[in-house]
């Protein structure tokens, strides 16, 4: 009886140790982290918009589309009309247009209009047909982007305060200009925010002294 009891205890203890270790092991190997930490979040967007192409290769300034970052709490997602400023003319990549030109020359016909599949989606969203032409039977639908950087509802972050103090977009968002699809680079945790604020108070931003508040109600109100 006593033997059994001892054995039972050993087994229970062993199982407990194994379980605890496995939990630790899994947590280290699988990057388990605190709830609501979405670092690395990289959702598939309804339109495969490439920041690498626009911000990186073409060198369009971030604020060209996300102008709210200078004036508002939110940087904002540009309205479709901003896209259409260029994309009423640019309907496909230069390579595919050239290819079509070549093909047309070969077949001695005028080149056809080429519309890339993702721009077709844009045109549909603003109420044009897939070729980017007016069609009164269609209605505008809007684009349902998936939000990548999202803070809990009890946190108030203000883009304009940061952008106007000289914080580069990349400080928080990483090198978006190299990303084909946007990924959340920072963990956007409170510790990460506060560390940066402390650092900024000690060293300034671009050697300019700043007053980055570390009061709770700077963000929580």
């Amino acid at each position: 009886m006593k033997l059994l009891n001892n054995r039972m205890t050993t087994v229970v203890l062993l199982v407990a140790v194994v379980l605890t270790m496995s939990v630790f092991f899994t947590s280290f190997t699988s990057n388990m982290r605190l709830p609501d930490n979405h670092q690395g979040f990289e959702p598939v967007q309804p339109i495969a918009y490439s920041h690498r192409l626009h911000a990186g290769e073409l060198g369009i300034d971030c604020l060209h589309c996300h102008g709210g970052a200078e004036q508002s709490r939110t940087a904002g997602i540009p309205p479709a009309s901003t896209c259409m400023n260029c994309h009423q003319f640019v309907t496909a990549s230069i390579l595919s247009v050239r290819e079509e030109d070549k093909l047309a020359a070969k077949e001695s016909r005028p080149p056809r209009k080429i519309v890339s599949p993702d721009l077709q989606k844009l045109y549909r969203a603003v109420g044009l047909n897939e070729m980017g032409e007016r069609d009164i039977s269609l209605t505008a639908e809007g684009i349902e982007w998936i939000r990548v950087h999202s803070l809990p509802s009890f946190v108030y972050f203000n883009h304009s305060a940061h952008v106007n103090s000289g914080v580069a977009c990349q400080t928080c968002h990483g090198n978006v200009e190299t990303m084909e699809r946007v990924r959340q680079v920072s963990d956007l945790s409170m510790g990460w925010c506060v560390n940066c604020h402390r650092d900024a108070n000690a060293n300034g931003i671009n050697a300019k002294p700043v007053n980055a508040s570390i009061d709770c109600d700077a963000c929580h109100h």
Partner: protein, 997 residues
Amino acid sequence: MKDHLHTSEDQLNLPEEFSRRSFLKLAGFTFAGGVLAGCQQSNLEKAIPHLIKPEELVPGVPLWYASTCAGCSAGCGVLVKTRDGRPIKLEGNPEHPISRGGLCAVGQASLLGLYDSQRLGAPLAHGKESTWEQVDAAIKAELEGIRKRNGAVRFLTGTITSPTTNELVRRFLSTFKDARHVVYDPVSSSALLDAHERTHGVRALPQFRLEKATTIVSLNADFLGTWLSPVEFTKAYRQGRSLQGTPPVFSYHTQFESRLSITGSNADERVSVSPVELAHVASRLLSLLTERAGRRLPVAVPLLDERLERCTTECVERLWRTKGKSLVVCGVNDVAIQVVVNAINEVLGNYGSTIDLNRSSYQAQGNDTDLAKLLDEIRSGNVSALFVDGVNPFYDLPGAQELAAACETIPLPVSFGERNDETAEHMHYVLPQPHELERWNDSEAIAGIVSLTQPTIQPLRPARPLMETISIWMGTKESAYNLIRAEWERSIFKRQTREQSFTQFWNKTLHDGFAIVEPKRQAVSSFNPAAVAESLRQLSTQSLQQKLFVELHASSTILDGRHAHNAWLQELPDPVTKIVWDNVASLSRKRAESLNLHEGDVVRLNREGGRVIELPIHIQQGHQDDVISVSLGYGRKGTDRFHHVNPKWLQAKPTVEKGGTVGTNAAPLLEWKGKTLSYFVSGIEVERTGTNRQIAVTQEYDFLTNPNLLGESSGEKRNIIQQASLATFVANPSAGSFPKPPLDSLWPEEHTYPGHRWGMVIDLTACTGCSACVISCQVENNIPVVGKDEVARNRELQWLRIDRYYEEEGETLRVAHQPMLCQHCGNAPCETVCPVLATVHNSEGLNQQVYNRCVGTRYCANNCPYKVRHFNWFQYPRGDEIARMVLNPDVTVRDRGVMEKCTFCVQRIQLAKIEAKNEGRALRDGDVKSACQQSCPADAIIFGDVNDPNSEVSRKMKDPRTYRVLEELGVRPSIGYMTLVRNSDGIAVAEGGMKNG
């Protein structure tokens, strides 16, 4: 890490053969997936940008529009704050000449009406939803028939200040042979206008200039509460009561009244009188003043009793001394009294100085005589078409049922309104009206001050304004915008000379919200003394023997009932009684004792003719013994919508029973006295029902002295309200100061405030207790409504409350109002007891409450000497999806189990700091205005940076009048209060036990 949750389904195909091995693999994957899912974004947030962004709009940045308030017909100017296309806050327009930046509680709360999902969404024809085309066609056909047979068309409305609407109604009615526009106000001031017709030959409401008066005598006029234009009057009243200058210009205000009103609670001298005594006081004032002027009255006026004789003689002395700079106003709807009051003002030479009859007011245009005539016509079945707009006659008139029955015979009854109310349900057609925030409108509330109302949101309900409807019926289908523009170009543009082109004039007015133009002159004839003798004779016949009256008055919060569907106003404590979610029969302690009644006992008020109402009683300080006062506006149909306004839990009691109403309609007791509606009703029998109803109040102890059950410290006076009389103040600016206690601190060091240090000063001399700040705070800070039951359990959530204290009793009763909110103490007792550091001090002197840290121990609330912390006992219902659109996106919506309190509007501080930073400048004084400060009609609240020596708040902090409440506790509050100075002698000051009432 890759995003597993968003892989498409075909990427997750199961293997065809489901072996044990693949099961284990899949099981393992599921487990790992489960762990991973814990750290994944589980519900995807969609972000849908504009297709084409409006040029002026930056998402996240508020836009402000100048508009006009429609909470009542006073016509105050408002600034509407919109965020991403929806209005979220109304604030006073500082430049508007009527309200000068103030906005009352009703105006602030009218915002909630916009998001009322029970507003009608389609016209009703015979009780069923219909379309505009069908309804228009049917009504037009009926009207054609009426036109042919010369039927009587009657347009029954409340006061309409819109010149365009009035003009269109006039034009519409001119197409009929027998048509009239009848205007009445549910709480009528008709007698005031009638009296001027008799004495000055013009039926007009004069503009009262309280700021010019050094002596104000009010006969039952609650001008700081609900009478005519409270915000305008509060501004003016404060302007005339300033402690600046030597000697200060500070008016003397005597209030003769039967119940305790907000105005009475601010008076320097308050005389409680019965309605009959009031009439005799008016006569006596006139006779004494005429004597002073060396003339004689044609009618002998009897002497009053000793007490009143003394008061009136003193009053006459003062009035005569300040002749031409005094003002007597009267809120009694009785032509005889009003004529006598006009005569008093005439003797004093106040016409042309404190009373402006040339620039008259259109804020109340009701005509009871017209109304009485119309009701006779309806009863005799002579009306062919009745249009009702903006009033609810089957609710707010006496004999409503009989009237509704008589209306059955009208061939075409039509009502315009927001909901299917008491009147609308008897009408053949109900045409929904838009809310003022979603429509174009205009207003000329005071002659020569014209304002515009502009839409600030896409209409939430497909409604159509009255003016468009009339335009369609007249065959010219015009939008309200075009109609207003056309009318302004036709009649208003001509009345100004500053702008050359109409477009410029229009754009400037739209931008500013208002314009000043030439007032329309009326032929005011000189004073006609003939009317006075007749009135005096009438008044002298009133017998002093009559005992027990019921006084009916407008509610301070929901007015005549038009805001009964507004939960914010229903939960706003009445500024005097502090009662929420109910109306009561208020009476004096003496009367209650003689009737053997206790607080909350339900009584039946019987009036002959079977007019009965049942109400709980409330024992009220300062009440005249012969008067029972009841607030109108309650008992509205459909208010059982608030059945579930409070949180559901085991012991919850509903705010209102299903099928019941909030409060009781007192209008059945109203009485026609000749051709005017009388709000004093005699011949009332009080009958006990034997039941008791709980009354929910937010303040249960009313005195500055300790209650008698505290052993040794019983009766001891607490250092809460510092008071002084004007005379002692002039002699010594720090008169009345509490003794300064030694402030030894056990704390090793004080906080340092290197940058800003936020502070507030509240001037108790200025504060009238109107409660505009309470609603302003509630709107700004997303404070939920908790319902009657929760208030009764002392769980109200309003961050800012106004404490109302009584001193003494009876004739010497003194009332003080004190806004009480988080004091942001330097040594805050709440901070030291929080076990999770959820409430901590910040570097700018704010006592922060961090919701996401709070675990709800409530230690802080228990340790707060000011009792300004509120706990979220529940997840409070915040109405439906539409109602939640009113939430301020800059303030966290708190969850259950979290403590909350005033933050000094930290969201406004942060935003102002960021704006200043973005513009590369330092924060200026006045950049940050707390919500309570912005709306205060009395400018009693000053907020700002105490570290800035030039800021207004730091100057006020150094004022000898400034003190801290409960300073002896050593908590070093950041809010200074300024001594309450009254223009009366004999204020017992400072130390020593004041008599407890």
